[in-house]
């Protein structure tokens, strides 16, 4: 088993937390994990891209080859399209539907949504609604983790455990709200 994920979004949206949650869950299941992150300049509101690879055997490259990703998982619709060349023809694209507009030439949102729906396996997630229901406006990224859950090669239970570990320092309340965002994301 080998599962490659391209994670993307805009610097500051919590892409690294999405990666950390899934990577930790895979670690809990004793799978091999490689996760390439973006630090430095691009984190300042630029397009960010992280490669996450999960496998039951040794992983060589930190980078996912083009046309090989099983999933593109994005915090932002425009960004999900930017990295589509990584996706396998039968792969799935999951993106938050809310745009992050910090550039003056952001395209018409409906055209972006249209282009996403034209892709065979694509899911747009209303993360704002889920975050609201989970009573944590900062949980949009965990809603995305939840939405990815049923495709990932890790159990929901492991994702729960991972989130409990990662947010432990922030207190029980935040853990609970993030878990609920994952469940709500998983229910769509």
């Amino acid at each position: 088993m080998k599962y490659d994920i391209i994670l993307c979004g805009v610097g500051g949206q919590g892409v690294l937390s999405v990666a950390a949650a899934i990577a930790t869950a895979a670690g809990i299941e004793d799978l091999h994990v490689r996760q390439s992150e973006v630090h430095g300049m691009a984190q300042r509101g630029g397009a960010v891209l992280s490669h996450l690879r999960i496998s039951d055997s040794e992983i060589y490259s930190d980078l996912v080859p083009q046309g090989s990703a099983d999933m593109v998982l994005s915090m932002e619709p425009l960004e999900s399209l930017r990295y589509i060349s990584f996706l396998k023809p039968e792969g799935v694209l999951i993106s938050a539907q809310e745009p992050f507009i910090n550039i003056s030439n952001y395209p018409e949102l409906s055209s972006i949504h249209d282009q996403i729906s034209k892709i065979d396996n694509s899911v747009l997630v209303n993360t704002e609604k889920i975050a609201k229901a989970a009573q944590n406006p900062r949980a949009a990224n965990m809603a995305i983790v939840g939405a990815a859950g049923k495709y990932l090669p890790v159990k929901m239970e492991s994702l729960h455990k991972a989130v409990s570990i990662l947010f432990k320092n922030k207190g029980e309340d935040i853990v609970k709200k993030n878990l609920s965002a994952i469940d709500l994301g998983g229910a769509i």
Binding site: V10, H39, G46, D62, Q66, G67
Partner: protein
């Protein structure tokens, strides 16, 4: 033995601690920053090792030399271009009689994710005549440390570890070994071998050339350089991450390639010869400059067919990826979803919303728009992002500290209204000496030190000294008190700041304007840690 999921940088840090270092010095720079951050994290928990940021890479390197002089193991870390700053200390250190192991972890940035060039630090190791290791995954990054320290103490030379962004910033699980104790403090036994006076340096140089032979022997027999002879038609030489990408595609190869992986330098020439005499064609897959390939080719004609970056079979610029090496192995590109993403608008990095630099650039921009001739020389840091739309204020960005000195040169060439824009940390790093030059010659420059109290670009490390001392420093150096102004980097003061800058540009001498406001990221980070600690 324990398992951790660590960044390559963190694996280097933990490896150094387990190799028994007593101290580490460095200057922040992507992608090397997390090495020191992790050491500081370990220090917080266990009180060891000493892990300090320095004013710049040169001071860091020299501090490390001092530790080594006292017989203790020390790590020094910086990004590739930082080694240019430390080069004086670095080059000379190769001639010393190193006793306490001295290892430098240098992180290159092929693809320039967060850098101004793609220079390959392996050249520096070759230039200085020191060994260099190139780990290809996180486990090797951890393991290499204890081997590098041993080699440093055995051959009495500094040893370089060359990292690249994709290793520094990618995470995998590693297994650790028991921690070695620190070396006791023992002064270097022969101080003559630490005094590079010409007569003594000649002896040291002779000795270093002798060590070249030992280094070569090490490299030739080391398990870091592994040779596997299979196919007679094609042999592959990989180094660093090139190995990962070569193996990544291996299920698609129709041939069982002969393979030499190079993980340490100087080059294992015997093994290379063995491979070359076994195979008709060599493919060289290396990250960065075609250093190996160039040495294989030399100048004179040769019988072996060599494919790599110089032959144009692998792209000369940017990072290696599993995709960029497919064609040299005869593999066609993988099938992709048809979608042209080149039409999408780009999303370059930008100053954070509410960044103090934004307000500073706005008043500079207004003043500049009214001048017939002006120049804004900028520097390396978050404020360099002001060069992109919509601000587009900086006009030069070259290297740490160059803003002030380039401004001086331009002003002395007769240019009017020359400004230098740099941050507080860059000022301490290498702006200070430029200011001395300006004052010495009473250059007609207006220097703006944007004081946000932090090293912003690399994630908010503390500036080496409280930045409110810059004013006192300038006074002490001799900038006229009437021409030093500490102002608020805030839009409410915009009109006032515009007027001030105009006045200072009209003054024929050194002016220093310090717009002050805390970096908002740093402010948030501080709040978070305060909350954690309460």
């Amino acid at each position: 033995m324990e398992t951790y999921a660590l960044l390559g940088d963190e694996a280097i840090a933990l490896g150094a601690v387990d190799a028994g270092i007593s101290a580490a010095y460095g200057y922040p720079g992507t992608p090397s920053t997390e090495i020191m951050e992790y050491l500081q994290h370990i220090n917080k928990e266990t009180g060891k090792p000493l892990a300090r940021w320095s004013a710049n890479e040169k001071t860091a390197y020299e501090e490390a030399l001092g530790t080594s002089f006292y017989g203790k193991r020390v790590l020094v870390t910086m990004k590739h271009v930082g080694l240019n700053v430390a080069a004086d200390a670095f080059m000379n250190s190769a001639l010393l009689d190193i006793r306490g192991g001295l290892v430098l972890a240098i992180a290159d940035d092929p693809g320039m994710h967060s850098s101004q060039n793609e220079q390959d630090s392996r050249y520096y190791a070759d230039f200085a005549h020191i060994p260099c290791f190139e780990p290809f995954n996180q486990q090797e990054a951890y393991d290499v440390m204890s081997e590098a320290f041993e080699l440093s103490e055995k051959l009495h030379v500094p040893v370089m570890i060359r990292l690249v962004t994709r290793l520094s910033h990618s995470r995998a699980a590693i297994k650790t070994s028991p921690r070695k104790p620190e070396n006791p403090g023992i002064k270097a036994p022969d101080v003559k071998q630490w005094m590079l006076l010409p007569a003594l340096a000649r002896k040291q140089w002779h000795q270093l050339l002798g060590k070249d032979v030992q280094m070569k022997q090490f490299s030739e027999t080391s398990s870091w350089n592994s040779l596997e002879l299979n196919s007679k038609s094609v042999g592959v030489i990989t180094s660093g991450l090139g190995k990962n990408y070569f193996l990544e595609n291996s299920s698609e190869y129709t041939e069982n390639y002969s393979h030499l992986h190079i993980g340490c330098y100087p080059l294992p020439t015997d093994r290379i010869n063995k491979l070359a005499s076994h195979c008709e064609t060599l493919i060289v897959v290396e990250e960065g400059e075609p250093l190996i390939e160039k040495q294989l080719r030399g100048i004179l004609p040769q019988s072996t067919n060599i494919k790599g970056k110089l032959s144009g079979d692998i792209p000369r610029e940017g990072e290696l990826t599993p995709d960029t090496i497919r064609s040299v192995f005869g593999l066609s590109p993988k099938e992709q979803i048809t979608f042209d993403s080149s039409e999408l608008p780009g999303r370059p990095p930008q100053l954070c919303k509410g960044c103090p630099h934004d307000d500073t650039y706005k008043f500079i921009k207004e003043v500049v728009s009214e001048l017939s001739e002006s120049a804004v020389m900028s520097d390396i840091g978050c404020y360099a992002l002001g060069a992109l739309p919509p601000l587009q204020v900086p006009e030069t960005i070259v290297c740490m500290g160059a803003s002030i000195t380039m401004a001086k040169g331009a002003a002395e060439a007769g240019m009017d209204n020359v400004m230098a824009v740099l941050g507080d940390s860059t000022f301490f790093h290498s702006g200070l000496t430029g200011l001395v030059d300006c004052v010495a010659d009473n250059a007609s420059v207006t220097i703006l030190v944007l004081d946000n109290s932090t090293v912003g670009m690399t994630g908010g490390q503390e500036t080496i000294l409280p930045s409110d001392r810059i004013k006192q420093i300038a006074l002490g150096i001799g900038v006229h008190p009437d021409h030093i102004h500490v102002i608020d980097a805030h839009k409410k003061d915009h009109e006032q700041n515009v007027q001030l800058l105009k006045d200072e540009l009209a003054y024929k001498g050194v002016s220093l304007i310090i717009p002050v406001r805390e970096c908002i990221e740093y402010f948030r980070k501080k709040k978070r840690t305060e909350k954690k600690e309460n």
